[in-house]
């Protein structure tokens, strides 16, 4: 859209309008992102001698991370978490809900959408506690329902619990995105598919999917980015027991504030920033091609 200065603001005043926002963004987003590179090259710690006089150690933090079994562990758990709860879980459940709800009765549609949305908008500390309660060993609702008394889900199956939790927590986004995507599919084509007797699977594959391919990619990229950066697992398990649910964000926190290894944690944050950058670049590229 061509910008025409219809209020007669003028360039100078326009710059003055943009500047305060840019200053804040510069201080609290751009600077920290760049500074994490520098801190990541030092042996800076929260306490002790290195907290006063940090030394430059170069790439030691990165090479240290590569041989740190805990880092490898958290990388693997993050992949599991993203793959299970977002790529597969939220994607498929979100699409299925959007698809099934199209023909559903009004009250059912409202009820399901309302509940799924509520799971998404409630504050993370509250939903984390709701799940701690449901999964509790002694009084939890899940054990009562499944008749499995004494099962401590968060201790015995921490990763599965986190994946199911995140499926519950985040499906709303995929559901909303896919229901607006499905509006694009022309009903006449679905009708034709039905007339020629196409099965449900081939209808989805040959009629629906070509129309929503772009949405699937957008959705997948966004939920991958958010899930990889999600700190809520900390609220459920804090990474335990014995690092068995320590995804990357929790690992960074534990290294930085638990062990005080700020330099090391910063180097790993920088790796996470790079991953985010790659995902975001692909996403913007996609947006541009579609726009």
């Amino acid at each position: 859209m061509p910008a025409t200065d219809s209020a007669g603001l003028g360039r100078g005043r326009a710059l003055a309008f943009v500047a305060p926002a840019l200053v804040l963004i510069g201080i609290f987003l751009v600077f920290p992102a760049l500074w994490s590179i520098y801190i990541g090259l030092t042996d800076y710690t929260l306490t002790g001698p290195s907290s006063v006089n940090p030394r430059i150690v170069g790439a030691d933090n990165i090479t240290g991370a590569l041989s740190d079994p805990l880092f490898g562990n958290s990388l693997w758990l993050t992949l599991l978490f993203v793959f299970g709860s977002a790529l597969i879980g939220q994607n498929i459940l979100g699409f299925t809900l959007a698809w099934m709800l199209r023909g559903a009765r009004r009250w059912l549609r409202r009820l399901v959408e309302g509940l799924v949305l509520l799971a998404w908008i409630l504050p993370s500390t509250v939903v984390a506690y709701l799940w701690v309660a449901v999964l509790d060993r002694d009084g939890g609702t899940l054990n009562a329902l499944l008749n499995t008394p004494g099962t401590a889900w968060l201790v015995q199956y921490p990763m599965i619990s986190l994946i199911v939790f995140n499926l519950w927590r985040g499906t709303a986004f995929s559901m909303l995105l896919y229901s607006s995507a499905l509006d694009v599919v022309p009903p006449s084509q679905l009708e034709t598919a039905r007339m020629v007797g196409a099965g449900r699977f081939s209808t989805l594959k040959d009629v629906v999917f070509p129309h929503i391919r772009g949405h699937v990619l957008t959705n997948t990229l966004l939920i991958t980015l958010w899930t990889a950066n999600d700190f809520t697992p900390f609220l459920l398990t804090a990474g335990g027991p014995d690092h068995r649910s320590e995804t990357l964000p929790v690992f960074i926190y534990q290294q930085a504030l638990g062990s005080g290894a700020l330099g090391y944690a910063s180097a790993i944050s920088f790796l996470l920033l790079l991953v985010n950058l790659v995902i975001a670049l692909v996403y913007l590229r996609l947006l541009r091609r579609r726009g």
Partner: protein
Amino acid sequence: MTSLVLRRIGYTVFFAVILAFFAIPMLWLASAPFDSKPGLGLRWPDWTFGNVTATLEHPYALTSLVNSLLLCGLAMIVTTVLAACAAYALSRVRIPGRDVLLYLLLLLSSVVTGTAAMVPIFVMMYQLGLINSQYGTALVIAGGMLPAAIFILKDFVDAVPRSYEESARVFGASPGQILLHVVLPIARPGIATIVVWSFVQAWGNFLLPFLLLRDINSQPAAVLMRTLYDEGGSANLTVIPVFSLLYSIPVVVLYLFVSKRYGFRFHGGIKS
């Protein structure tokens, strides 16, 4: 015929399972606050309002909600005002390098997450002596929300026809008057969206206040919630359910308000 019946059954079972999956964890939030002996499991409550009184008397419960109001109110005001000014100028005036700037902002809004930047932000605030400063924390939160807020608002401003501003200008209104009396009223739905969105985002934010506000007297509800259940103990079970309910209500009310008033607008990529 049988396949139709089977399909019907499958359909019903699917929705029954979905409803149970999504509702069961939340039902506790409706029953436990009013149960005289609240437990972790779900049960029909033995009705009482005693828990509410106990929660209100808790030394930190109300304080933390007030802290939340202060923190989120401040972050919301800063975000809305700065984003509105920036979005307007970026929409109407061709500042040199505007397109690059917009691209970078969009990139920043998703790349520099709280998790990825927590270490440098913590170190920065620590060295500036701003740990436990509510104002400092509010600014950090606002800084994180600004790129996305600018984008949402710019979309709104782009959709506002320029003819209003132009005709006001023909009648000799100054830029200031035009902004205040012409642009602001038309952009109100956009601004309301940002007000609600930024408030809700800040209200739910746990990580930044958890990192930066270590003193319980300055902590918002998000952090107190965690402190309450991390310590455990049976005494807190009278407080936690009511407190979670009090803490959740504003978010739900604001969402209902926005979706009722302006329809649920779908802004891809801005929740988190």
